[in-house]
Amino acid sequence: MAKSRKNGDDVQRARLARLLSDPATYFAEARRQAHEQAKRLLASRLDEHGEPSPGRP
């Protein structure tokens, strides 16, 4: 089933308002989420290959 994501103009407006009101906090939060997502993606791609990575405990 295709996955749809709500990302319309109202979402963009709210996001822009957050960015403009406090850019440092906005990007700190974005950085944290980006790393969490990257970690998840990487783990799932490594799991696809069966063997757990030797780099992970």
Binding site: L16, L19, P23, A30, Q37, K39, L42, G55
Partner: protein
């Protein structure tokens, strides 16, 4: 399934060590060795067992460290792409859409306000998404009155206001204006070893910087810079992201 695999992995090493040890002990017992032949066999067997087990263990440790480093690099790269695309470029392109949506007759205060927002988004993104801490981004606006100048107009990041004005007719000013005219980028990895002509270290605290033109094909608006306090805070790989931000800022300012 994962538990079985982990169990096999956990027991493989002691089983290997045990088998290697039993092999030479068994050999010594079967051959009924006593005295110094047994001592010699035991000593050599112990050394060879240690080598047989230790060398692969060392290689496994090295592989583990390298794999961990590679995963960290992959994670950082993936997070950074997401940060640049999702959290910086998407709101910026949305904002540019709003600027270009304005009807021509409504240009004026509202357009200037939206362009100011685009400037704030670009400066904060340039200072925040490249990875290193305490980066600073600055916009130097081109002033066309004679002599032509690039004056510090806005900045984000470290609380140190940019002070340099690049003036036509000075070595550094002509160099900066030339970069802008030719739409060239500049990456300075270390200001103490390679610096632009006419550069005066003066009170500058930063050791590395990127400078890119804010221009469309027809118009020049100024220069966007990002600087860092330590060598290595910025790399050649960062230039492309700053260049895209500068190009989009030029589109916003020119709309």
């Amino acid at each position: 399934m994962g538990g079985t695999r982990e169990l096999v992995r956990a027991t493989a090493r002691p089983v290997a060590v045990g088998a290697a040890t039993v092999a030479w002990v068994l050999g010594a017992v079967v051959n009924d060795l006593h005295g110094w032949p047994f001592t010699l066999t035991a000593a050599v067997g112990a050394v060879l067992t240690a080598l047989a087990v230790g060398i692969p263990l060392r290689a496994e440790h090295n592989a583990r460290v390298r794999a961990g480093t590679a995963e960290q690099i992959a994670e950082d790269a993936s997070a950074r792409i997401q940060l640049v695309l999702n959290d910086a470029l998407e709101p910026l392109t949305y904002l540019i859409g709003r600027i270009t949506d304005r009807r021509r007759w409504s240009f004026g205060r509202e357009a200037a306000e939206l362009q100011g927002q685009a400037m704030a988004v670009v400066l904060s993104a340039a200072a925040e998404v490249l990875g290193a801490n305490r980066l600073r981004s600055c916009f130097f606006a081109r002033v066309d009155e004679k002599p032509v100048r690039l004056v510090p107009s806005a900045f984000h990041g470290r609380a140190e206001e940019p002070r340099t004005t690049f003036v036509e007719g000075t070595e550094l000013g002509d160099f900066a204006l030339g970069l802008l005219a030719r739409r060239e980028d500049l990456f300075c990895a270390d200001t103490e070893t390679a610096f632009p002509p006419g550069w005066d270290p003066g009170p500058h605290k930063y050791r590395t910087f990127i400078a890119v033109p804010v221009a469309t094909e027809a118009r020049q608006f100024g220069i966007l810079t990002v600087d860092g306090l330590e060598v290595g805070d910025l790399t050649e790989d960062d230039v492309a992201a700053v260049r895209v931000l500068a190009r989009l800022l030029a589109v916003a300012l020119g709309a």
